[in-house]
Symmetry: C2
Subunit: 311 residues, 2 copies
């Protein structure tokens, strides 16, 4: 199917946002799981969603994250007069904190761009994917969409202007991500957050994000480890995930560089220096939920450096 | 006098701390002004301060920032039984927000280390200099002392553990620093700060510090410019400096990358891409105070990359 412009399929990966000290501004992409979007040209003008698998989502283009993102891109390109059919195949759980809606939006804009023979650079697709995710999420932020589309560890200076920066890839870095099958609604996870933080917490948090960025640029894993802390959001949201601190402690004991909540939860990520530690940290994370009789999915993955890809 | 171990003189430069988005965690060193500390060996055991010029400061070693820093270093080295005489020559204004006490402390520990034939690396002197500054300042933080001692733009992940990182030098970078001769007491400047910030402000501030660090590592002056903002401290302290916003606007109009309060004020710094812009921004800053009939000292300087030096 690759490079056929009558129809093509794009995969966009899951992502971990709100990465420890980087609430709203730091995220990274996994290699799997991810969503697939299939697009083909049609004689009938307009964009239609013809099939959705893996989850109940609206077929109305304007209410669907992938559809809306694609539509906004088509409007920008002046291509709304043409006909497109879109299939969305959700291959990861909703409400897991793994950026499912972001992945669908990223895949959708990339698929549209490809089928039109790439009028935009991949990076230029970002605003449209963010608009799509906004449908699901309510907020305009790119810490899921940008890694899902572009790959890597993404730091965002400012979401409003999408001042997005890909941090240097660190060899060997792997993540263990556990998705305990409990429901945490993003709106609850947001509502729980206090509107204020102390000045001291802010100083800590600015120190941590600066330390994390410095660690990435210098390849200093010890510094990354010291910087992967969150004194603001994690303490407030931990209560939504039964056994969170036990899980975190278990992952750190296995040598993870850091461990915190993925997105708005309930998934938890552990960032690790290599695959072996990630496997061990992942097993330790999973055991904590198994012991509580909570089912979970475990994903072990290097940092995905490609983001959305044709497949 | 250089390298004579019976007596030697060390110069430590002024520094700009609380650098915009980096409250308590970001500072840089100027080439001038600065303080000088002269140390010579003495047959009479113990450390004595024998002369202080340029300001009224306590001669009691334990109450003097330079003296206390030197004493703590001597204790660490087990050299308190030896005799030292110290002269302190203050060559910059007190209470200006230019890190005067930090410079004296940095010069003192370097002078002691040199006269003892360098038992420690320069970087290892940092905790003792910070202890010295703490005498004057009350708080244990290194965003003046570290640049004054080590030079460069210094980012501090954590003050408590002195997790201090020198950011890459960016060619051409200059600062204009204006010291309006008005009194702003550090304790007032601290007391004015609210204990809380909003979550939104924290997100902005973490974005800015991460952006600044990224800009330094990538040599991206545009990004540095976008990141040199402070939505938390500057708006609260601006009222202490008459005409602050007018001065800031004037410096930015001349092309400064950013402009904010130096330390606890009343000095204002403007970071600029080159010397010419720094000269122009500096003149514009000074004019705002001259127009208000407020005397001021203007310093134009590249980022000092050496910190404290033997002279």
């Amino acid at each position: 199917m690759k490079n056929s412009h009558s129809g093509l399929k794009v995969f966009a990966p899951a992502s971990v946002a709100n990465m420890a000290c980087g609430y709203d501004i730091l995220g990274f992409a996994l290699e799997k799981p991810g969503d697939e979007v299939f697009v083909k040209l049609s004689d009938k003008p307009g964009l239609r969603i013809t099939k959705i698998t893996g989850g109940k989502l609206p077929y109305e283009v304007e209410k669907n994250t992938a559809g809306f993102a694609a539509l906004k891109l088509l409007e920008h390109l002046g291509e709304t007069g043409r006909g497109f059919e879109m299939e969305i195949h959700k291959k990861m759980p909703f409400g897991s904190g793994l950026g499912s809606s972001a992945a669908s939006a990223a895949a959708a804009v990339m698929a549209i761009n490809e089928i039109l023979y790439r009028p935009l650079e991949k990076r230029e697709l970002l605003p449209f994917a963010v608009l799509g995710e906004q449908i699901a999420d309510g907020a305009y932020h790119a810490d899921n969409v940008a890694p899902s589309l572009l790959g890597g560890i993404i730091f965002i200076r400012d979401n409003e202007t999408l001042d997005v920066h890909r941090l240097p890839a660190i060899k060997g870095l792997h993540a263990a991500v556990i998705h305990p099958k409990i429901e945490v609604l993003t709106r609850d996870s947001r509502a729980i957050l206090k509107e204020h933080v102390t000045l001291k917490q802010m100083i800590k948090q600015t120190g941590s994000i600066g330390g994390f960025v410095t660690g990435c640029y210098t390849g200093n894993l010890d510094l990354i480890q010291r910087s992967l802390t969150d004194v603001v959001i994690e303490p407030q949201r931990a209560q939504l995930i039964p056994g969170f601190y036990k899980a975190k402690e278990a992952a750190l004991k296995e040598g993870a560089l850091g461990c915190s909540i993925s997105g708005a939860g309930p998934s938890i990520f552990a960032l690790c220096a290599n695959n072996l530690i990630a496997e061990q940290a992942g097993a330790a994370l999973q055991k904590v939920f198994t012991d509580q009789k909570i089912e979970s999915d475990l994903f072990i993955s290097p940092i995905n450096q490609e983001g959305a890809i044709l497949c």
